[in-house]
Each structure stands twice: as structure tokens, then as C-alpha cells.
């Protein structure tokens, strides 16, 4: 995972509420065996609608309860692969929010007027260290869990976090190394 640095980007607006994960990444694409390349299938059905326009910017702005429905991790994978680094929304579904930060995507919850102002503005700046979003004529601060902030700023995924405890892990393994079962010896 890349460390999250302050981004300045144009905005991609998808001003709909209750966008569910089956719209973000339809189930027919869950059968793939790769972890990458999901961006191509993002909003697969909606992308066929007339007038659909979702440029590959770094910031997505959207409505209320974004990412509801099935807990599939393929949805954030698709958004990340498409190029997004931060999602600004009025609110997020719980599991989706936590799945986002696992692949380095920053979910930002803001009040409706701010969300609308950002959607209408030309470009936006997201500063995670300061927990601030800035745009032409406005700015807003957002909340984030301290530990998640630390992880994102340093580009640490869950595995990297656990591996920071490598000493405890190695000590445990040494203490508990015992006869079996050893799968490689079968």
C-alpha cells in the first residue's frame, strides 16, 4: 500500500444515494482470480447508461449510505483500481468503509452542503494529516479513527500492522514450536 499523501485533483461526482456494492461491482465479476484489474468493471451496468460520465480522477464525491449491500471486497478494489484515492460522501455503509481503508482508499464523511459544494467545484484538495478538505471558496474538516489515519499516512495495510509485532510473533513461535502437525512432511 502507498502512503497517503495530500492530493489535489479534479472531482468525479456521482450524486446518488444508497449506491450498493452490486452496482459498484456486479457479482459476475467476483469469479475472477486476480486481485487487480477490477477498475474496468466499475459501475458496469450504469456505465452503459446514456450520459454516464465518471472521469478517472482521484476523488469521488457521492451521496448518502454509499457502499451498502453485500460485504464484497471487490467493490473498493474496483474503485481503487479505477484511480480513486479518496471518496467524499454524506455517509458510508459500515463494512464498506472498513474494507476501503484496507486497500488504502480514504472514506471522508461530510455534511450534505459541503458534499454538494465539492461536487460543484472544479478541483479539491484532500489533506489527511490535517484532516481537511479544501476547495474553491470553502473547506471542511473530517473525522477519522487515529489508528486508521496512522495506517493510511504510512501506507501500512493490516498485514504490515501485524508484522510490526514480529518480535512478539517470533517469540511466540519459538515458545510453542512443537512436534506437529507439519503439513509439508506428509
Amino acid at each position: 500500500m502507498e502512503p497517503f499523501e495530500t492530493i489535489t485533483s479534479r472531482v468525479s461526482a456521482l450524486m446518488r444515494d444508497d449506491v450498493d456494492t452490486d452496482q459498484i461491482m456486479p457479482k459476475q465479476f467476483l469469479k475472477r482470480v486476480e486481485r487487480t484489474g477490477f477498475g474496468e468493471y466499475l459501475f458496469y451496468d450504469w456505465a452503459k447508461e446514456d450520459g454516464w460520465d465518471l472521469p478517472r480522477n482521484q476523488v469521488l464525491v457521492t451521496g448518502r449510505n454509499f457502499g451498502c449491500g453485500s460485504s464484497r471486497e471487490h467493490a473498493p478494489w474496483g474503485l481503487e483500481d479505477y484511480g480513486f484515492k479518496a471518496i467524499v460522501a454524506e455517509s458510508f455503509a459500515d463494512i464498506f468503509r472498513s474494507n476501503c481503508t484496507k486497500c488504502g482508499l480514504l472514506p471522508i464523511e461530510l455534511a450534505r452542503p459541503d458534499v454538494e459544494a465539492i461536487a460543484a467545484s472544479d478541483s479539491v484538495q484532500v489533506d489527511l494529516a490535517a484532516q481537511e478538505v479544501r476547495w474553491d471558496g470553502g473547506q471542511a474538516s473530517f473525522e477519522i479513527d487515529e489508528q486508521i489515519k496512522h495506517r493510511l499516512l504510512n501506507g501500512l495495510d493490516d498485514i504490515a500492522m501485524t508484522l510490526q509485532q514480529d518480535e512478539a510473533l517470533a517469540a511466540y513461535e519459538q515458545r510453542r514450536e512443537r512436534s506437529g502437525p507439519v503439513t509439508t512432511a506428509l
Partner: protein, 456 residues
Amino acid sequence: MPTTLFDKIWAAHEVAPGLLYVDLHLVHEVTSPQAFDGLRMAGRRVRRPDRTLATADHNTPTDGTPVAARIKDELSRIQVQTLEKNCEEFGVPVYSLGSERQGIVHVIGPNLGVTQPGMTIVCGDSHTATHGAFGSLAFGIGTSEVEHVLATQTLVQKKPKSMLIRYEGELGFGVTAKDLILHTIGQMGTDGATGYVVEFAGPVIEGLSMEGRMTICNMTIEGGGRAGMIAPDDTTFEFVKGRPAAPQGADFDEAVKQWRTLRTDEGAEFDKVIVIDASRISPQVTWGTAPDMVTDVASAVPQPQSEGHERALHYMGLEAGTPIEQITLDRVFIGSCTNSRIGDLRAAAEVVKGRKVAPTVSAMVVPGSQEVKAQAEAEGLDEIFRAAGFDWRVAGCSMCLGMNPDTLSPGERCASTSNRNFEGRQGRGGRTHLVSPQMAAAAAIEGRFVDIRTWS
């Protein structure tokens, strides 16, 4: 302070608060590809290949297809081949299609002896709870957790609550472990154990074979439980003894001494306790589209209590009030990680011996692993099934989940020894009734459900 079996195993595996060490990680083709890909992208390796074991089961055809390259379905072929490639690259032992040790992941673990008392065992599959029958803590995980375990051999976990389900009394004639667990789920509902690790205990449990105990723990998840477990005893040790991965000689005796300490102490507290009178349980048959929609074989399809029930009856094509014994069947499936072990096949074969499958029924037996298949064949069970008109297949998940060529057609009604009767689980539009192997075998002969206790 007195502690539970679950407390003991949990405490012994906490590397740091909330970080649990994993003794055995079982891997299969469906939930692992992205986990391996994630490792590759981050330049990580598998920390303990010697504590990891892979097999192909969900997607594999059961018609004797010899190697992955010959699997007709493209997606299945790619998944199985990807598993083989990943295991080779990361040094993980794998029993894929064509291996004499290939089979359902929850059947091969115990049979190889890699499942042992006191361990923590995880797998990207919800029926991992099966292994709890050995007095281990075993549960299913998601794909990103699979990646986490591959890379670190640990799991970030909050400790679940504990529940004790104690069975009083004795099981009646013709009543099996499957009936015990189906009845229990019927009592507590599909979310009755949500958030809990369940310990099953009581004289009935102590009297069960390891196969029966695995059937019980396997279906804990159908009651919402995170894991099911049973304290290990002589039955457990006898089962483990002599298996390829079991400790040998003096090491085994030493291990048993330690395993004997894996018991819930007198006076230990559970967050919840349920007591069930086992002597009142009859052979069970599910009538709906969730495992808790279940009733006694001697009764009738119940009156719907909710919209969900009505929908279920409609899907199942059943009328309330119809005696269960009048329900006729098109298919019978004996298999799955719930009931495909040698003991299950022996029990079914005994019912089938010298009889013929009804002409209106197409019936199949799918051994849980290639080793179970070989053993059954050595005992002549395959002959008994074939002579009766059963299709004798090669190991795999088969018709448990409709992900491989074995599926029900829309509207087909099946007596199945598997664990889930959800809409479309065995194939789109298929109608599943969950039962024990004996009940499934008798249903195949008669073409309808019969009460195994009075049937002759």
C-alpha cells in the same frame, strides 16, 4: 478461576491481545486466489507453509476428471489451476485433482491427522467449524483474512462469547447426530448462536463417533455460531492415532497427556447455556429454505408462521399439512462435509444393502475424499451402492453447492445429507430437504421419505 475449553485454547494462542496464532490454515481454490495475488503484489511470502495445506474441492467435477487441465468449465479450470500454481510458487502443499489425498477440505484434514486437539484452525470456508469436533478452535474467515493468515500466521480477532449446549438423556433408535443438530437449529433458529463459540456436551455427545461429532460441529454455523467444539476424549485420541500427521510412539502418548487437560473446568461460566432433552428427538427432515425450517419425519409440513415461511413453502412446492412421509423425491444426494465420511457411508450402505433405488429416483453417493472412496471400495460399499442403483462418484463438494456440474434442475426435489437448503443452493430452482445418511438412503429406496425407525 475455572475456565472453559474455549478459554483455554484462546489463551494459549494469543500472541498479543486480539492477535490469535493459527496452528493450521486450510486452503481451497475458491477463496484463495486473490489472497495469493495480494501477497504477490506486496512482495510477501507465506510465513508458515508447513502449517498450511491446500486442496481442490468446491469446483472439481466428480466424474473422474483426472487433472485440472481437463476440467470442462472454464472458470473452474482456471480456479483449480491457479491454486496449483499459487501453491507451487509459495511452497504450500496441495492435494489437487488427481491426487489420492484430494477431497473436501474438512474431510481430508481430520483423515490426514493434521486436525488435532487444542489447535486453532482456520479456512476460507464457513464449515471450518467441523474441526472443532477434535477439541480445537476452528472457524471460517474471509479472503482478506486468508491473505493475513498466509502472511503472518495470525488473525486479528475479538474474542466471541461462549455458549454451552448440553444434551440430556439418550438418543433413540434410528436417531443420528444429524438429527440432533438439525433439531437443535430448529429450536434456536439460524441466528440463535450468532456471536458465540458453542461447546457441545453431555452423555449423548460423549457416546458419538468422531464422524457424528464432526456432523454436529459442522452445522454449528447453520445456527449462526462462530465455531462449535467438543472436548477431546479416548474416542478422539483413538481416531487421531496412527494417522499420517499424528505424533508417533512416545510423542503420541505425551500429546495425549496434554490433550487430556483440554476440558471445561467444573464451575466454569458460559455466557449462555442451553439444555436439550435428546431422548425426545426424532429423525428430522427440513421442509423449507433455511436449516431451522425442520420437523419430525412422523409429522407434517407445518402451517406457515410468517411471510418467510409462506415464501419457503411456495418455493418448495409444498402444502401445509402434507405428511412428511408423503413427500416424493426425484434425487438423493449422500455426500458433503457434513455426511460423507466412512462412517456415514457405512450407515447408508447398511440401509441400502440388498435393496433397489426406486425407479423414479436418481441417487448418488459422493465420498468426501479420495481416501474415503478407496476405503469404502476396500470394504465393498461401492458394490452395495452400485447394485442398488446408486451412482458412485469421485470426491468433492459435488451437489452440496451447485458450483460444479452436479446440480439439481429447476423444480427437482432432493433428499440431501448436506447442510444448506437455501433457495438455489443445489442448483437454480432445486428443492432441498436436509436429512441424515440413513434417512436419505431409505428415501432413495422408497422414492419418498420414510420413518427409519418403523421402516422395514
